[in-house]
Symmetry: C2
């Protein structure tokens, strides 16, 4: 792939496509596994349908919250439910800011309007990842609360950062996104790098999506199992089967890996070897 | 999927994505099989990267030849080689004309300039499907020959129709495209319909891509084997493995099925059930 020919929007779409097709990716939808109501095709349809939101972000149109809301609306049209909410939270500022320092700048400039648009997007999804416990997203008063407290979207992420690793990326300088990109680049070209980066991040921190769904114990155990796979004492396919069978899907790590692929593609990492 | 929300361009992209992910699709790249140099990700990258050509076709910008050339250029940037040349030959007029009668109208209006743009696109690919035997696409005189004979793109397709089933669609009223769409709709929603339509078309006519690559005998034998699968006397997975192992890939039927999915989506067929 001649990376210089791609727009940032296309790079983001390719990142979404490459993440979901990589395999085996323990617990998640991949080339070899579907969940009953969310299948490979749903993720790929979202990668196709999100494009206008990414293009508008690339053109600098509107705010981050508005663009996340647009991406969620565009991809909420199929029955697979929300597939990429967390990925959009990372990709939109990365596209707008062009790189990680730029993304930190644009996230630092978010407003209450961004927070409101973000909550409106959130209300469209069935995801339980955000925003912390303080403001009930399903409450009709949620938007008034945001206005009353003058909370920007970065404030929302800051509140959520303790128990959500995607939100935490906004606060800690996209550190796992950066780490994932470095893992991809160090591993070399091709799809095996994605599995390696995914497993490595999974082995480094408990996935907060698993934590919210199944409790911290399960998230920590999954992390330990990923370590054993990297150490060669656990079979990756057995680990994958076990996670799939019990519905333990590391959704937050997957979102972060998409952002990592996006960054790595921009730095010349070759998916296509 | 709320079909009314999709643009024609998105519908074409989804058709490309749905075709390649459907499985088992004997002999072709699918969710379960790659070829060494052309993998699932290459097909999906093409589905993502083709979008501007489809959008321009939807806006009525330029001619069919120019839009096919644009689609080939956009998707020729990865190492998977040409993945969808035949599909573009069908999708571009279907998008421009809005439906099959409209596509026949716009293909009837093609010019020598369309033929020249098409040959330029063809020279970018390594595909051996077009254009018949009369004009050597690799000859530097090819474009002069087209001009000298005042050949339109429809004339080129007409010359190729005897030994190329994709070109034949332009001449016979997109009859296999229509048949495939009817098969999808009659089978009902979901990805199994794609496998059914693919097998049914494969059982109905020898694939001309196979014919050019391996000879008519192999194309006919593959057709007979597809019939046996439909009749229940041959296992689809064994047939698939056999085709994959011997490099017998029904590429022209795959291109036509993409066009069929595009038409069926426009007529309300649900991929997403």
């Amino acid at each position: 792939m001649k990376a210089h020919l791609m727009t940032h929007a296309e790079q983001a779409q390719l990142a979404m496509m490459l993440e979901v097709t990589a395999f085996p990716k323990p617990g998640n939808v991949d080339r070899c596994h579907d969940y009953e109501n969310t299948r490979l095709e749903h993720f790929l349809a979202s990668a196709i349908l999100a494009r206008p939101a990414f293009e508008h972000a690339e053109q600098g149109m509107g705010g981050i919250g508005e663009r996340i809301r647009e991406a969620v609306y565009l991809t909420n049209t199929h029955s697979g439910g929300n597939t990429h909410f967390g990925a959009f939270i990372l990709l939109i500022p990365l596209i707008m800011g062009e790189n990680i320092p730029g993304a930190l700048r644009v996230t630092g400039e978010t407003t209450v309007e961004d927070a409101i648009a973000f909550y409106q997007a959130f209300q469209e999804t069935e995801v339980r990842i955000l925003p912390g416990d303080e403001i009930d997203v399903n409450s009709p008063d949620a938007l008034d609360t945001l206005r009353g407290r003058d909370m920007t979207l970065r404030d929302v992420m800051s509140h959520s950062a303790t128990n959500d690793m995607v939100a935490r990326e906004w606060i800690n300088g996209f550190s796992l996104t950066r780490k994932g990109a470095d893992l991809l680049i160090s591993h070399g070209p091709g799809r095996d790098a994605i599995v390696f980066a995914f497993l490595s991040l999974l082995a480094s921190e408990p996935d907060t999506f698993i934590g919210k769904k199944w409790g911290t114990g399960v998230a920590v155990r999954t992390m330990m199992h990923a370590r054993e796979v990297l150490e060669g004492t656990r079979e990756i396919t057995a680990f994958d089967d076990e996670c799939i069978a019990s519905g333990v899907n590391p959704g937050s790590i997957a979102d972060i890996i998409i952002a990592s692929i996006y960054i790595a593609l921009g730095e010349g990492w070759q998916w296509d070897c």
